[in-house]
Subunit: 477 residues, 2 copies
């Protein structure tokens, strides 16, 4: 499983590097688009239904419904960690809510998922003065011994600095990474590999500066993975403020002693991907997937990561059902499980449905925030790109016409988009996404009802069009 | 003492209402200024020394020194609550550092101060689901019984809503205020009077939505005071996110049960105001005060509130001493103690030095953030205003020429400015001040070294000029 996890993390990071941090870098290259008149006309014919869907969300029966549904959900369950009964209850709730909305075609598929439970954990500065260091253990970290670890700390600014130190200067110490935040994609390596790199030098524990551009003395958790053949040492994220403090103390020649206590346990549980189908009218074997993940980290309430993405994907089914819109292809909403612990739900789906990949026509995931929608992060063929651009023109009334062709659209759909299957992620004004990401700050207050309406309208209309359009979005060769 | 405290809180709030929230409202009214040619010339003659002082901080020997000094201070002591040994140690440290800088005229005056120690405290949502509610008890709150209070909660949006409820609906409950944040001055009444208003209706505890425009699930503490003849009930601040959650749960008809546990104790200790004098050359009995407060709340490290204000006031002495600049009047730096618990240090100073008030020529305090300096918050006579405006022209090279005449310049100097003694506070770009205020987010990371240099330069030069100028800044009649 370790190899798979490493691969998943890597995929996830590539996605995030590209999609989030470059959200403003909308491709400037002009593509020569020679779509046939038929295709253009076919797309143009969706102008009315696009506007109808937008109106239905923005001033019609669904106005405010996405935020209301999300708020009832997160208020009822809070965060939803992979492996917990609470996540399973929240999945049952979504099934029930789907049926209450007169959608019968909802079912689940079981997935074996990791259950990483942090338990009691803390970090304490003991010298030069006693101070609590607010922290969050990183996913898959091992525990400390029951009495914790008390050790001298050594603070470094980078892996290069760590590597340049004699092993004797690091051995038996806690390595503190006080790395600068460049962007998520660049800086997250300290979270994912900080423990292993420290262990290679003989360290007994590692603390990283939380991977975020903004801090209110807030720790941010996330996954990490251990290299093979390296001692697994406990690892946690501390705040910007404290990592910087520790570095200054070291610069002044102070002896730094830290106590780390972690009690994390790892086991396996059964969870479920949740699948809702609107069966296609004339091409029902062809499938368009629209998705988000229902699990979250065990902090905040996961409204942003990925409550918003899951709910706009769910609302697509609710809206089309209420509006009696049934596309030619099957439109499949999937609420992935255990994304945060390594894309576990989507990988299982990929394995189980391997034989149906041929009929997978377009894959969508929103997992980079649901702020003001701007358009689509697209991955796929050039001809497909031309079609997508043409479709996006239909969203000029809400200014969601941009296409970004750099990066992967979504972590859970990466296994397909990397294979040339066309796919899209929600391009949105996500400049503050990492302020809240994986922290107690990921709460419903981050989400705006009107913005959710716009995003859900875009997501619904876009997925409907690609599921209904006459010609498939062509795959990459 | 209660009456005095109430008065102090009020004064402090009036200051903050006016100075912070209206920082952008620089008075537009044009004053007819008919300063004599002598006065104009006298002020203009300070152009060279102003530039010298600015250069000395910005590119000379003191470049970076304010931030460095502040960082060593807060890294050594962390936060400095009134009544703690840590605050007294930090005062001793400042005395020592002053002497190390070859300034001998540093002394302290004892003050009896409150020691409000929060001890163990928490709030727990028990129904409809179990959830920790991050909280901070409010200053002077009483404790709960040792086993805590378990009670139904009732959520209100305002005092008016609370007052409109039958007593029976509030009695024996915990009142949760989910008030909207308008601005600090308007909204802080829920912090200061939330407990008393709830107690009047028979409540057994109160929780307020933290008084801040921005939240990362962060509670913000601060002072409150009990009305006379009202049962003192425990009161704490919870986060925006949780207050809003509780309100939504109530709107959905859920029964809300909360456990509050607080162990706060209140006693009295001895602390000290720290005073550093540069004796005037020709008018040594006349005094200009330049000040900030050295105590802080018991969260974060108090770098912003009020480490920055204290340190730019301290740096004024360091800079003038190094530059051999000695004004005609005595320039007195004061690091107030126990400001946060009700202006306790400054009130004691006022009493003790009552007979010298006649010679108090100008009073300055910085306690509203040390962000980019913009000019001065001025209180005093119209003629004085004309002189201040003329002095501020000298700061055009650093764009700190604005005068704001609304509001009080500083809480600790309010007893004088309200009596017509002219005074000034640092006008600065404080739009994010309340993001961090009284929270764990008030850390050194909020402060910028270059900005501190500019502010310290402004503060030093300005205080030097008003202490050296030929004619006194006239008092209000």
């Amino acid at each position: 499983m370790a190899k798979n996890i490493t691969y998943s993390i890597l995929a996830c990071f590539i996605f995030i590097i590209n999609s989030i941090t470059s959200v403003q870098i909308v491709e400037k290259r002009e593509l020569e688009c020679a779509l046939s008149e038929n295709v253009r006309e076919n797309i143009a014919n969706y102008a009315q239904v696009t506007n109808d869907i937008i109106d239905y969300f923005v001033k019609g029966p669904l106005k405010g419904k996405t935020w209301n549904s999300l708020s009832e959900f997160v208020d009822t369950f809070g965060n939803r960690l992979s492996g917990t009964k609470n996540l399973e209850n929240s999945i049952d709730y979504m099934i029930e809510k789907t049926r209450e909305n007169n959608i019968k075609n909802v079912y689940t598929e079981e997935v074996e998922v990791p259950y990483w439970l942090r338990g009691e954990e803390y970090a304490l500065l003991m010298k030069p003065r006693v101070k609590n260091l607010p922290m969050l253990g990183l996913g898959y970290s091992v525990a400390t011994p029951p009495d914790g670890i008390i050790a001298n700390a050594i603070v470094v600014k980078s892996f290069d600095e760590l590597k340049s130190l004699p092993d004797a200067e690091v051995a038996n110490k806690i390595v503190v990474y006080d790395e600068a935040y460049v962007n998520y994609g660049v800086t997250v390596k300290y979270r994912s590999k900080g423990a292993s790199e420290a262990a290679k030098k003989g360290a007994v524990g590692a603390l990283i500066r939380s991977v975020t551009p903004f801090s209110m003395n807030t720790p941010h958790t996330g996954m990490q993975s251990y290299d093979a053949n390296v001692t697994k040492i406990p690892v946690a994220a501390i705040t910007h403020e404290d990592a910087d403090l520790l570095w200054r103390l070291q610069e002044r020649g102070k002896e730094i002693v830290i106590k780390m206590k972690m009690s994390a346990t790892l086991s396996t549980k059964t969870s479920r991907n949740t699948i809702i189908d609107t069966e296609g009218t004339t091409k029902k074997d062809k499938v368009v997937i629209v998705s988000g993940h229902i699990d979250s980290w065990d902090v905040g309430d996961g409204s942003m990561d990925d409550g918003g993405g899951a709910f706009i994907s769910w609302m697509a089914q609710i809206a089309l059902n209420q509006m009696n819109l049934r596309p030619k292809r099957t439109l499949r909403t999937i609420l992935w499980t255990a994304e945060e612990l390594g894309l576990v739900g989507s990988r299982e789906y990929g394995k189980r449905h391997r034989n149906e990949t041929e009929n997978l026509n377009f894959v969508m995931e929103s997992d980079g925030g649901v702020f003001q929608p701007l358009g689509l992060i697209y991955s796929g063929s050039k001809t497909g790109e031309c079609m997508i651009k043409e479709i996006l023109k239909l969203f000029s009334s809400i200014n969601a016409t941009q296409i970004q062709t750099q990066g992967e659209p979504g972590p859970d759909i990466g296994m397909w988009t990397r294979d040339g299957i066309p796919g899209g992620g929600l391009l949105n004004e996500a400049s503050k996404y990492f302020w809240y990401h994986h922290s107690e700050g990921d709460r419903l207050n981050v989400m705006d009802s009107d913005v959710l309406d716009l995003a859900a309208a875009f997501w619904t209309a876009f997925s409907y069009i690609v599921a209904d359009i006459d010609s498939d979005i062509p795959r990459s060769p």
